[in-house]
Subunit: 380 residues, 2 copies
């Protein structure tokens, strides 16, 4: 065809996508991965109660989902002690971020994030014609002072902050979030992505205050709850902000299976506690594996660990390639200096054993290719 009749905004967008799924990599490689440690999924699995709820719900999937997700919303409201009108259940944080950008950002509006932070958020900003303004990380944490300054100087409509952070695993205490909010310009909202917050230390999440009109918070069942495949998360904010989503969202978008599973997961705090403990143990073990290979693991408040490979991005990319070649699926940050690291998800012992076995060879191969290629003067 001559030229597809896309709307001008879409015609100007690149064809690139934020992430290539591991299944696509497996198809291209021609063989499956042996360990799946790249997407911060929870290999510890969902709650057995959630599994039972899914199995019981299967035959009833001929019914459309409840577009209000009312049962889940009521349970979340009770769980957090907040008004259900402050909650919107959506198709995972990815989908909710897209709606959020659409809700608040007109073409040309400035949006602030950290250079190297979540690519899917940036994808949505570009998709709606927003203008991305970035600030670098400082000491491997998102720089809340610089983000607020950028919001003021650019007149931003939104600031994105993941706390704890992906891809570095670092975090800020709630007092830093409060300071960031106080430093935002009038009419600018904080998008606070708390995908990993159930795995973070006490004091990371601010207390709930749905009267605060300066932020919308995002939570998910994909990480600690192990339901990534079902696509379900939620936004929490002032009811007038939350009501706005009803003007644009796909009302029947949150599938019924996800609603049933999330409700059951929420009613199993014991499983969540067990996952928290397993993740904490695994973070220590990944740190020990890194140390045994002469590498430093960064502190993490998430279900993954960033491992500093000790050189530049080219070297870490070579380590990553070595791990992929050894059938270990991992990912890494995309921007310097964060890209001196690889990012390894916590997982059950068997998969971490495979990572442990593969890492020395991957490191050796990286040293051989990168260092003999001369791109790193100081390689070992």
């Amino acid at each position: 065809m001559s030229r597809p009749p896309f709307a001008p905004l879409v015609a100007g967008l690149p064809a690139t996508v934020p992430f290539v799924g591991p299944e696509q990599q497996e198809r291209e490689r021609g063989r499956p991965f042996a360990a799946r440690l790249g997407a911060n999924e929870s290999g510890f699995g969902p709650s057995p109660r959630a599994v039972a709820a899914m199995q019981a719900a299967a035959a009833g999937m001929w019914r459309y989902c409840d577009p209000q997700s009312a049962d889940l919303k009521a349970a979340l409201a009770a769980h957090h002690g907040i008004d259900p009108a402050a909650i919107l259940v959506g198709e995972g944080i990815d989908g909710l971020l897209g709606l959020t950008v659409r809700l608040f950002v007109a073409p040309g509006d400035a949006v602030v994030t950290s250079a190297g932070a979540y690519p899917t958020f940036n994808y949505h900003v570009a998709g709606y014609g927003g203008r991305l303004v970035t600030r670098p990380y400082r000491a491997d944490r998102e720089d809340v002072t610089a983000l607020a300054e950028a919001a003021r100087s650019s007149g931003a409509r939104l600031v994105y902050l993941a706390n704890p952070d992906n891809p570095m695993g670092s975090w800020h205490g709630q007092e830093a979030i409060a300071a960031l909010l106080d430093a935002l310009p009038e009419g600018c909202l904080l998008c606070l992505d708390e995908a990993y917050v159930e795995l973070a230390p006490e004091g990371t999440a601010p207390d709930w205050n749905i009267e605060d009109t300066r932020l919308i918070r995002f939570r998910t069942f994909s990480k600690a709850q192990g339901l990534a495949g079902l696509r379900i998360g939620y936004a929490v904010g002032h009811p007038e902000l939350i009501a706005g989503y009803d003007r644009i969202r796909n009302h029947f978008g949150v599938n019924a299976m996800a609603q049933a599973a999330a409700l059951a997961a929420l009613e199993d705090p014991g499983h969540l506690a067990a996952v928290r403990a397993a993740v904490a143990d695994c973070r220590l073990r990944i740190g020990a594996i890194a140390a045994a290979n002469g590498l430093a693991a960064l502190p993490s408040a998430t279900n993954f660990v960033a491992i500093d490979c000790g050189h530049d991005g080219a070297f870490a990319r070579a380590v990553l390639a070595g791990l992929l070649a050894r059938d270990i699926f991992v990912r890494m940050p995309g921007v310097a200096p964060l890209d001196r690291c690889i990012r390894v998800s916590c997982a059950p012992e068997r998969e971490i054993d495979l990572f442990q076995a593969a890492l020395p060879g991957a490191l050796e191969a990286a040293r051989a290719t990168v260092c003999t290629g001369g791109s790193l003067a100081d390689c070992d």
Copy 2:
């Protein structure tokens, strides 16, 4: 808060939603419906193979979904005998229609549909700032000649046509679709919603021709396949048009459970054939019930039947209210003269029995309220 900081386009949108779910109605009524005949769901249920696939997949829902839906796409391509690059799997037709509007319609662009056709499409057009141009149905069918004329006179970017039609159940043969395509202006696409086409007579669906750059077709697993709760459908079109969706879609949006269930459903043609037969029987039965009550059922190529209540919209709304009061969930068209009808979904015998039992009372009550109120001079 003073005024929520919504983007100008969103700030101008109404807070209304296209459909209120039956669960919401049940919460407001304070009791459940006894028969669920309002949303054109398939009470005949999904394929047992799909149910088994869901149950087997449940424990693995900690993994993110394949963002390419590659296995399902390959199976659909084989099933239809077309290139996988011509297929996009999405979160049901609702979600795909939203993406389609976003892809092709800039604010102020004209979009053509029939007055009284699918409200969710109109919702998306409004949501992206499109300008809706409508034409009336003719003899309870969408008027393809008038739609094409409206597209030419308005310079429309999109024309929406459901074939078979919802809410009337009527349909056009493939030759009418071909004529419509030939009559469209340059650069205007036909959105051909074929949600019900598996239940229509042979010759309703055009042959596949993915080289045709004038249309995108939409199919779903929600209707004949009985998987409405999982939210999965697909678009088929020229690969260059289909590739455009990758620039804007939520790549991890199609949940893994839906992908597994749809794949299993596709591999069970026997179940689909059984549902087709049950739907055909049920259409006859609903027609007989209508006739026994002095009403006329419209011909249907779908899994529902529009019943002409014989008077105006006020009367049909009173019949609908009478059915709801008798715990029968049904819906009806929203625009005259279509709104002289109520719309009843095909369902297993038990639920149709309940409808049969409730209809005489609902009609009697409608006659009592509307006719004694004097709004219809010719009641009875």
